[in-house]
């Protein structure tokens, strides 16, 4: 046990972080109690506003008012736990201020699974999907090529599209005859307008709280105009001041339905991409010296989220994702301390025992919720477009994205086509989001087959070889979508190696550079006629001593192994071989 705890808390070293100038309290800083309290309350308030998806899910599950309140309270507890995990630093959790909220991606599929196979299948699917994610997470770097930004962009875009009907229905509250309610529409438009005006013309801090401001104003208008179902107040269940957030009795024991697990795993893959992006954003915002993606911290953030989601699944709730609005709040207020995350998580877990908190959220007027949903949809659609176009488009990427969206829309606008599919596939096929993302993943993987992953450069006369090698690597790196920093490092090491081989007189004839990329590694092989060099790791020279040395000869001698050392340190693995007058030098770089 003791050993397990030691293992868990001995966090692998990652690069030291430095607080940027515009941040008041960095990740590791412990702000004074007053500041912490204000920050925690702000983060928790924003999180509570975003609980609307939990409420929608509860209502669509057909729960009675008391059931919806209990479901919402249970969600608050689960997401509080996720937030707490993100704030702790261990081998499985990142130690960052990342607040979890119910995911707009998950609720459609979650409800679909419940209506097809009942609540216990949903519990099984959520738990299984997140265990799968936990197993996948360590393989993340290897799989990156299968989930490029344009695939994530399709997902974000389709999430926006899927929210629209829900948002419009709540905003217009049409009656059975389809006649829309004017007070509802006004309240919704006011909510939307208030959010938009705050975010366009407000200062930085008002902008972050625009959701809360919009909901406040919208609720007042809705109450004044009567765009509020007052009968819902009659149905308010008798709530004690204190109640344990318990799972729904129906969901007590999980059942495992393969189709449900598959459908929910796709959803969690989308979350995984989202979680990686959020963790990178947070890490970038809170580190002045940020240079390269810290894969350790993103992996731990994804694991923390998956662990939290397993608990959510067991409690019978849907799963969560990191709230980008809360990241924005942290950045705008300048308080990014992970201790605020721990505090927010604990506060939420406490509040989940006070049912009246969930009740207030449940009672938020429908048109106000509708306005928030429409706002979210509009910005998800744009964010998706920006993600799609964040890499240069070519014919393959254009078609991958365009066709995926076409298929996604088809499902949304022509639901009749889905009705004749086999039962097991219907939950997947019925969701435009799932279908679009699966299409994008499959097309992306198909088109990868057609892309040559191994290219050879025959050096030409005239331009220096190192320059040719650098241009060659940059060109193909872009074509493959390899990370720029890895490509640059490759160019450095290959250039150094060419120089070393040349100056050392190893090269006797033709030289070629073969480059291979497989998402995990970039492998550069220099083959040439001649002998193989010795590339032994030696101790680093004492530079300070060299600087103070009497003569330049000492300096030159001290630096004689510099070239070998540089190559060895730039590349992750180096090997040399020779055979029949031909030699080759292989440099490998982790990607």
């Amino acid at each position: 046990m003791r050993r397990a705890v030691d293992w868990l808390t001995s966090v692998p070293i990652s690069a030291p972080k430095a607080r940027p100038d515009d941040v008041l309290y960095g990740t590791e800083d412990r702000p004074p109690a007053g500041v912490t309290m204000i920050a925690v309350v702000q983060q928790a308030m924003l999180m509570l506003m975003l609980l609307v998806y939990a409420v929608i899910t509860g209502e669509r599950m057909g729960l009675d008012p008391a059931g919806v309140v209990r479901f919402t309270s249970t969600c608050i507890f689960g997401f509080g736990l996720s937030t707490l995990l993100q704030g702790l630093r261990s081998r499985l959790t990142p130690g960052m201020l990342m607040v979890a909220i119910p995911s707009p991606v998950a609720f459609g599929t979650y409800i679909g699974i419940i209506s097809a196979w009942g609540p216990s299948a949903a519990v099984g699917a959520v738990i299984s999907a997140n265990v799968i994610i936990l197993l996948i997470t360590p393989q993340l770097p290897r799989l990156r090529g299968y989930f490029p930004p344009e695939v994530a962009g399709v997902a974000v875009f389709m999430i926006g599209v899927m929210i629209i009907p829900e948002g419009i229905q709540r905003s217009l509250s049409p009656d059975a005859a389809g006649i829309i309610s004017a007070p509802s529409m006004i309240a919704s438009v006011v909510t939307l307008a208030a959010i938009v005006l705050c975010s366009i013309w407000g200062g930085v801090r008002l902008r972050v709280m625009s959701l809360i401001v919009g909901c406040g104003i919208g609720t007042v208008i809705a109450l004044l105009l009567g765009a509020f179902d007052f009968s819902s107040l009659d149905n308010i269940p008798e709530l004690g001041f204190f109640a344990t957030p318990l799972p729904s009795p129906a969901a007590a024991w999980p059942t495992f339905v393969p189709a449900a697990i598959l459908a929910y795993t796709v959803i969690e893959l989308v979350h995984l991409m989202d979680q990686v992006a959020s963790a990178l954003t947070m890490d970038k915002l809170s580190d002045k010296n940020w240079v390269r993606a810290d894969m350790s911290i993103t992996a731990r953030s994804s694991m923390a989220n998956a662990i939290g989601n397993v608990v959510c699944g067991a409690l019978g709730t849907l799963t969560g994702a990191t709230s980008t609005a809360n990241i924005g709040l942290a950045h705008a207020s300048g308080v990014m301390s992970r201790f605020v995350g721990i505090g927010t998580g604990l506060l939420m877990m406490l509040l989940s025992f006070v049912p009246v908190v969930a009740l207030v959220i449940v009672l938020t007027p429908g048109p106000v919720v509708g306005g928030v949903l429409i706002y979210t949809a509009a910005f998800m659609i744009i964010a998706g477009m920006e993600l799609v176009l964040s890499r240069m488009m070519n014919s393959k990427r254009s078609f991958t994205v365009g066709f995926s969206i076409v298929i996604g829309f088809t499902v949304v606008t022509l639901p009749a086509l889905v009705q004749n599919l086999p039962e097991w596939s219907r939950t997947i096929a019925a969701s435009g989001l799932t279908v679009a993302v699966l299409t994008a993943i499959v097309l992306n993987a198909l088109f990868r087959i057609g892309t040559s992953r191994t290219v050879t450069l025959q050096f030409e006369e005239g331009t220096p070889r190192a320059v040719q090698a650098a241009e060659h690597l940059e060109h193909w790196g872009a074509e493959w979508g390899a990370r720029r920093e890895v490509v640059m490092r490759g160019g450095m090491a290959v250039g150094e190696a060419l120089e070393l081989l040349n100056d050392g007189g190893f090269i006797k004839g033709a030289v070629a550079l073969t480059t291979r990329f497989d998402e995990i590694n970039l492998r550069c092989t220099i083959t040439y006629e001649g002998e193989k060099p010795r590339l032994e790791q030696t101790a680093a020279p004492d530079l300070e001593a060299l600087l103070n040395a009497e003569d330049d000869a000492a300096l030159d001698a001290g630096l004689s192994e510099m070239s070998t050392n540089l190559i060895r340190r730039l590349a992750d693995r180096v090997s040399v071989s020779s055979k029949g007058g031909k030699a080759s030098l292989l440099l490998e770089f982790n990607h």
Binding site: A466, E485, G495, E499, E544, L559, S563, L566
Partner: protein, 115 residues
């Protein structure tokens, strides 16, 4: 490789662009070593250098050594991430003075004086 020299608020700046490698290091060495004895401080602006090989590192270290013996100050500025990485992993960052940009380097020199 191109070398431009100018002075900004009486601080000598040598701006190098292109690649500092085996082919070009001799030219850079001549320029740097010729300049150092006559100034109290020299800023090497590497903003437009996208490649430094070990030959380039050697030139910089020679410049630093020459500066030290003549009581001058050699300051590096504006390193691109990949060049910075080479300075980091070779240990050069710990013995050289490096600033984010030329204006920052000049400000630092004006504040604390040459050498």
């Amino acid at each position: 490789m191109n070398i431009t020299e100018y002075t900004d608020r009486d601080v000598a700046v040598m701006s190098i662009s292109g690649r500092i490698d085996g082919t070009t290091s001799a030219e850079a060495e001549t320029a740097i070593l010729a300049r150092i004895p006559s100034v109290p401080a020299l800023v090497l602006d590497l903003q437009h250098v996208d490649y430094v090989s070990s030959a380039g590192l050697r030139v910089v270290l020679k410049g630093a050594k020459s500066a030290r013996s003549s009581g001058a100050r050699l300051v590096l500025a504006g390193l691109t991430p990949q060049v910075r990485e080479v300075f980091d992993i070779s240990g050069f960052s710990s013995v050289l003075e490096i600033h984010g940009s030329t204006p920052e380097a000049i400000a630092a020199i004006l504040k604390t004086g040459g050498s």
